[in-house]
């Protein structure tokens, strides 16, 4: 493994320690938290929901194509709901938030680093981790599961829309299959992963932003690195988290 990767992992571990100590030992700055919930959660709604809607619709069409060969169209609701709730909803939402929010956090903190605003915070005897990292990371960890719940719901609605209007499947029947197919474990397994995804996005984005070395070029490199690293970490961790939750449930 490259030395740079190991260094970055070490930095992430240290930053996580600082984040946890500032999160639990100091009074939360609620105003800043709310601002980040809006920025990271509310403003991501459109992109995650549009993606979920069309993913659900495409999934229903593809399922109809594949299942009709076996005269098994009735299971479209099962396939759409399980795919979305267990896998596509969490992963696609995380990838989109990783791209939109992760890049934004790194660019913002990186610019602050490059223009010495982080040093200014330290020079005024304040802690940038407490002021900047804690609210952003908390917002990532809390907002991603909420965005995923909404994305799951809208994805299934997308599937319902196609099933009803395109495939002439009764809506009540479709929703009945969805509810029959989904168990609490499916929902738990899908949503459980999103807390980890939120943490990965936030910690990678904050760490890369706070360690920008040079000016505009450094910010650009760090931002790209965040999107790539967060995407890869989400996809790799998804496999292990799926196995973990499979064992737990």
């Amino acid at each position: 493994m490259q030395q740079a990767t190991l260094t970055q992992m070490g930095q992430v571990v240290i930053l996580t320690g600082e984040w946890l100590s500032n999160l639990f030992l100091r009074k939360p700055e609620l105003r800043e938290w709310i601002k980040q919930f809006n920025h990271i959660g509310v403003q991501s709604l459109s992109i995650t929901n549009i993606t979920a809607l069309f993913t659900g619709m495409v999934l229903a069409l593809q399922a109809a194509y594949a299942l009709s060969a076996f005269n098994a169209d009735v299971f479209i609701g099962d396939l759409v709901s399980l795919s979305i709730v267990r896998e596509l909803g969490p992963v696609l939402t995380a990838l989109l938030v990783g791209g939109r929010v992760g890049a934004g956090i790194t660019a913002e903190l990186g610019t602050m680093k490059a223009t010495q605003q982080l040093d200014a915070m330290r020079a005024m005897a304040t802690n940038p981790v407490y002021k900047l990292v804690v609210p952003r990371l908390v917002a990532c960890v809390i907002c991603l599961p909420i965005l995923t719940i909404l994305a799951n719901f809208i994805g299934i609605i997308g599937g319902l829309f196609i099933a009803s209007f395109e495939l002439q499947i009764d809506g009540h029947f479709f929703m009945g299959r969805v509810l029959d197919a989904l168990s609490v474990n499916d929902v738990f397994s899908g949503l459980g992963k999103t807390f980890f995804f939120g943490y990965f996005i936030g910690i990678i984005a904050c760490n890369n932003g706070m360690r920008v070395e040079s000016g505009a070029e450094g910010v650009g490199i760090a931002t790209t690195s965040t999107v790539v690293s967060a995407s890869i970490v989400i996809l790799i961790s998804d496999f292990f988290l799926t196995k973990l939750f499979y064992m737990l449930t």
């Binding site: 602050m112 223009t115 010495q116 605003q117 040093d119 200014a120 330290r122 005024m124 005897a125 304040t126």
Partner: protein, 246 residues
């Protein structure tokens, strides 16, 4: 005159780049010390070492008799509350307006009420010759105004010492003169000592009680302005003669 800071054989490198190779310097209460040197000679690095923004590889940094060379981040906080730092570009928080920038250290370190903070912000702005700009964001300010707002933020906590990192770089001569006058005013009116890092000769002439010349990672000269003018150090002479030719 008592020492605030004392640097003894301070060494700092960044990878293969040996920036400071053994700095010896004392910073005295009540005086303006100007540190002159070319770009990349480690002037800003030296300032950052003083308040622990970066840490020295070896040597000692003494603050009021206490060795502060290698402290934990939080242990520097009491020093940073007494020593302000004026960054080269101002380093105003661009997500905040002028009022919020100036109020930031007060909200962090005092229990002052909002009206009291507003009064103090307005007072600090008045001291640097600005008025009615509390609502503006940093992007609305000119370079000179930005430096003055940053100076207002630096003095709002009533520090004992201000570290100026190239306070006049990139400014026109009139604004440079204004900033230089303000630095002197801070010393005479508020009894604030200063360390001013610069390569700007008007700032040297107007602000220096004592001059240190940093070259090749060491203090190549330290003394009064008169002594500096008589120095035989070729680079230091070039600074003074270059100005005379102009």
């Amino acid at each position: 005159m008592t020492h605030i800071f004392k640097l003894q054989q301070v060494v700092k490198s960044f990878g293969p780049n040996h920036v400071l190779r053994g700095i010896d310097l004392d910073i005295r209460r009540g005086e303006n010390l100007v540190v002159l040197g070319g770009s990349g000679t480690g002037k800003s690095v030296m300032l950052k070492l003083l308040i622990g923004l970066i840490q020295a590889d070896s040597g000692q940094i003494i603050f009021e008799g206490q060795d502060i060379t290698h402290l934990a981040e939080r242990a520097y906080y009491p020093i940073r509350k007494r020593v302000s730092y004026l960054f080269q570009g101002g380093a105003l928080f661009d997500s905040m307006n002028v009022y919020q920038n100036l109020a930031y250290p007060l909200k962090e370190h005092t229990d002052m009420s909002s009206p009291a903070i507003l009064a103090k912000v307005q007072d600090a702005l008045t001291k640097v010759g600005l008025k009615d700009i509390e609502h503006l964001s940093p992007s609305d300010l000119s370079g000179g105004m930005m430096k003055r707002v940053a100076l207002a933020r630096a003095i709002i906590n009533e520090p004992e010492l201000i570290l100026y990192d190239e306070p006049t770089t990139g400014l026109d001569p009139i604004t440079t003169h204004t900033i230089n006058e303000l630095i002197r005013k801070m010393q005479s009116d508020l009894n604030i000592s200063s360390v001013i890092v610069t390569h700007d000769m008007p700032t040297v002439h107007r602000c220096a009680d004592r001059l240190a010349f940093l070259d090749k990672g060491v203090i190549a000269f330290i003394g009064s302005l008169e002594e500096a003018r008589l120095s035989t150090h070729p680079k230091l002479r070039a600074y003074f003669e270059g100005e005379a030719i102009d």
